[in-house]
């Protein structure tokens, strides 16, 4: 059993990347769930997007020989940039309106 694990560790393959991605995903999820600060929530989202990208590229490398996964990852990066820009603008607006960046204190649609 231990020998199996060790040989598995010796040859990084598809599942290694998937596991790293799963851990990063879980960490991002945790950040989204627990952090009060909206910017921390945004960081959690970035972690999750990165985890997804690792998966796309891993499958593109090991399971197909096409570059479609690369393209999708590229679009994910593009959308992440747009999302962060908008997200931060919203956070700034919220800070101006509510005087806080904590998502749990923002519970009204209108001030």
């Amino acid at each position: 059993m231990i020998v199996d694990v060790l040989t598995w560790l010796q040859q990084p393959g598809l599942s290694h990347f998937l596991i790293v991605s799963a851990i990063v995903f879980a960490l991002g999820l945790y950040a989204i769930l627990t952090r009060k600060n909206a910017i921390m929530v945004l960081m959690g989202i970035e972690l999750i997007l990165n985890a997804a990208n690792i998966n796309f590229l891993a499958f593109s490398r090991y399971s197909t020989h096409s570059l479609d996964g690369h393209i999708v990852a590229l679009f994910v990066i593009i959308l992440a940039a747009a999302e962060v820009a908008i997200g931060l603008a919203i956070v700034l607006n919220i800070v101006q309106n509510f005087n806080t960046a904590n998502v749990d204190e923002i519970d009204r649609l209108k001030e």
């Binding site: 769930l33 627990t34 749990d104």
Partner: protein, 753 residues
């Protein structure tokens, strides 16, 4: 000019008006003059493009059908059948090229006219935006090669019609008319939708050619031929709604509440013709029975509307009923198999009817101005009884209106004569071939009626003396932006643009371009063979033409004797024929019948349902409650007074309890009884009888107080506690909700492991 270029051009024609809409709906306040010049010039640009398409189609690709397809949705192969998907595409055949030009021409001229007519309107920019939306939607109907886009564009057209009828939505009647148009059209569209679904379920494609080829190769919806008839008639239901045919024609006259140029564009020339256009598109798949339905619907509508138009006094209402009548004519023409004639009449009618409406708009504009100057706000500027004698003051409007009237009446040398003559000959030939003689009789009488009411309108509006001597001095001709479209439409109402032979369209470019498609339905089900039909039409053409001239002449003569020379007193005639006059004046009471049957019927059913709910359902519920109360109170009463009935009740309940115990004992006793089982059953019996006696005797009051109330209180407490718990969960915090959602995800993970 390759076919690809034509497709590209048609895309421009299609989408440029949409650009108008988007630009004007958002930015009309920031553009000088609210952007009317942009909208108008863009639509004139599309007119140029459409003419290029028509000419190159005529010159280069006369026999070709230019088509392009995009696979929009691909469902792959589902359930082992043939591949499912939705294809969108453009189809430019001769009919589409002609229709494209007609729509852009009318739309462009209406845009131009509106600049004058709508000047100073509160929602001037929005009006032009909606015109753009309408033109875009209409081109969608024209250019599509499949039922899917057809339906989408169909509904978009309905929407823009709704928006434009309700343009002056402050007026209650206008917003009501808009709603009526929308709702009435839905009735027809449901049928069309079902028809399309039947076809898609059978052929797994929305494309016209795929469906037609499928039918040609012997595949029928539902496996039987009557289903094809049903599908055809259902699709025709859409045309009944949009083209205002008999059961659903009621919305079109009311739609005259919209601005007059809109009536010209949508409710005379293009949108209402969409139904006719759709029938020409699906003509090939119509079975003989379906075509017969279509023919009779058209004939009846033509007759109904023509008789109503004779007595109307509102200038636009007369034209509206005339439109319904002429649409019936086209539908009838298609129904009898005169495909070319039906579509030809659509084209010529679009020209002179748009002109008629614009002319009416010019008159209303002038009347409105005059009444406004007089300080008269009560007289209706659309009532022809308050007009008369406008000929001298508005020469251009009069002469153009005169030409349109000649055209619609079917006087020789006009376009209307050519097309109407073709339809009449078609009905005659149809009657000869199949024996349906009612259709040509109706068709010829409607031709006479049309000439009569149109000249009545012309005489009452323009000839004679004006109703008010004071007012006539304020009347003046409309500005150039309004008269130029009138002149263009009047020019296009002459025969020369359609055929060089003033007495027959058969040799003209139109007949050369528009040839009836081959029926795809088996010959046994098709009405007649096109070749035989064409030959019969050729034979009856001359007598039909002479008869139609005669009938039109009679109608015109009648109108002049009655309203110009006043040889016949119209009012006396109306009194003499009071019952008929009243029926006609009230539009055959169709609105009233709908009010009575549909609206009141719904109310009646609702009342009955409400009565059932109130009396029977509630009665049972209340009755049970009351019975319980009576029983309980009665028992309590006897219990407290210890009267004879109380004793009786106790004795009776004791006996009943004993009986129940005995029954319980017997049922629990097994087949093979031993002493132990007998004792057990005896105990059960005793317990049951004791319990029931307790319930009867002391429990009736106590049971209610203790157990029932206890249960109710328990439920209340439980829900209270649950509510408190749930309130703890509902924090209003986003992350808590994410948490719960994720818990759901995990549960799904485990569930579908």
């Amino acid at each position: 000019m390759t076919p690809d270029t034509l497709i590209l051009l048609s895309l421009f024609v299609w989408f440029l008006p949409l650009g108008n809409f988007v630009l004007l709906i958002f930015f009309h306040r920031r553009i000088p003059r609210n952007g009317d010049w942009i909208a108008t010039s863009v639509v004139f640009g599309t007119l140029v493009l459409a003419s290029i398409i028509l000419v190159s189609k005529f010159m280069l690709y006369q026999a070709d059908i230019i088509q392009t397809n995009v696979r929009w949705i691909d469902f792959k192969v589902l359930h082992g059948g043939s591949p499912l998907g939705v294809e969108l595409g453009i189809l430019i055949d001769n009919v589409a090229a002609i229709m494209l030009t007609v729509v852009t021409l009318v739309s462009a001229l209406v845009h131009l006219f509106s600049i004058g007519y709508m000047r100073g309107d509160v929602r001037y920019g929005r009006y032009f935006a909606y015109l753009g939306l309408f033109t875009f939607s209409m081109q969608g109907i024209v250019l599509t090669n499949n039922f899917f886009l057809l339906y989408v564009a169909w509904e978009l057209v309905g929407l823009s019609s709704y928006l434009l009828i309700g343009h002056w939505f402050e007026k209650q009647s206008a917003s009501d008319a808009a709603k009526k148009a929308f709702v009435v059209n839905r009735f027809g569209d449901v049928g069309m939708f079902l028809g399309i679904l039947i076809l898609y379920a059978t052929f797994h494609s929305f494309r016209f050619d795929v469906v037609f080829n499928g039918i040609r190769s012997g595949i029928f919806p539902g496996g039987s031929e009557p289903w094809l008839t049903i599908a055809g008639v259902l699709i025709f239901c859409g045309a009944i709604g949009k083209s205002a045919q008999f059961p659903l024609h009621v919305w079109l006259p009311d739609a005259m509440e919209g601005p007059t140029p809109v009536s010209a564009l949508i409710h005379a020339a293009t949108m209402v013709a969409a139904g006719v256009y759709m029938v020409t598109r699906t003509f090939a798949m119509m079975t003989g029975d379906a075509l017969l339905v279509i023919a009779y619907t058209g004939a009846f509508t033509a007759f109904l509307a023509a008789t109503i138009a004779v007595v109307q006094t509102d200038i636009k209402k007369v034209l509206a009923y005339s439109t319904v009548s002429q649409l019936g004519y086209m539908i009838m023409g298609l129904g009898v198999g005169a495909y070319t004639a039906g579509f030809f009449h659509l084209t010529t009618h679009a020209m002179f009817k748009a002109g008629l409406f614009l002319g009416a708009g010019s008159v209303i504009h002038a009347m409105h101005y005059a009444l406004h100057h007089q300080g008269d706000h009560h007289t209706d500027p659309q009532d022809i009884r308050t007009m008369g004698g406008l000929k001298e003051k508005m020469p251009i409007t009069f002469w153009t209106f005169f030409i349109y009237t000649l055209a619609i009446s079917g006087v020789p040398f006009t376009s209307g004569f050519l097309s109407k003559d073709e339809i009449l000959a078609g009905t005659w030939a149809f009657a000869q071939l199949t024996g349906h003689t009612l259709i040509p009789i109706v068709a010829f009488s409607v031709a006479g009626l049309t000439a009569f009411y149109m000249f009545r309108l012309l005489i009452l509006t323009f000839l004679g003396n004006h109703a008010d001597d004071n007012r006539i001095q304020y009347i003046h001709e409309s500005p150039h932006v309004m008269t130029i479209p009138l002149i263009v439409f009047a020019t296009l109402s002459f025969f020369i643009f359609y055929s060089f032979n003033p007495f027959s369209a058969a040799g003209g470019w139109f007949a050369q371009l528009v040839k009836p498609p081959d029926f795809v339905v088996p010959s046994a089900m098709a009405a007649t063979s096109p070749a035989l039909f064409a030959e019969t039409v050729h034979n009856v053409h001359l007598p039909a033409m002479l008869l139609s001239i005669l009938v039109a002449g009679l109608g015109i003569l009648g109108a002049f004797t009655t309203y110009y020379w006043k040889k016949i007193d119209a009012n006396a005639l109306a009194q003499k024929l009071a019952p008929i006059y009243k029926v006609l004046l009230n539009k055959w009471y169709i609105d009233e019948i709908y009010e009575y049957v549909v609206v009141n019927g719904t109310k009646r059913v609702s009342t009955i349902l409400a009565w059932i709910d109130n009396t029977i359902v509630d009665g049972i519920v209340n009755g049970v409650a009351k019975l319980t109360v009576i029983l309980t109170h009665g028992v309590r009463h006897t219990w407290t007074t210890r009267s004879i009935p109380a004793l009786l009740y106790i004795v009776a309940s004791a006996l009943l309890s004993l009986y129940l115990g005995w029954e319980a004992m017997l049922t629990t006793l097994p087949e093979t009884s031993s002493p132990m089982t007998v004792i057990q059953s005896g105990i059960v019996g005793v317990v049951v009888s004791a319990l029931s006696f307790f319930l009867f005797y002391g429990g009736v009051g106590g049971f209610d107080a203790k157990i029932v109330d206890g249960l109710v209180n328990f439920v209340a407490t439980l829900s209270g506690v649950l509510g408190l718990l749930l309130r703890r969960i509902q924090t209003g915090k986003v992350q808590t909700y994410i948490l719960w959602a994720l818990i759901g995800v995990v549960v799904l993970f485990i569930w579908f492991r």
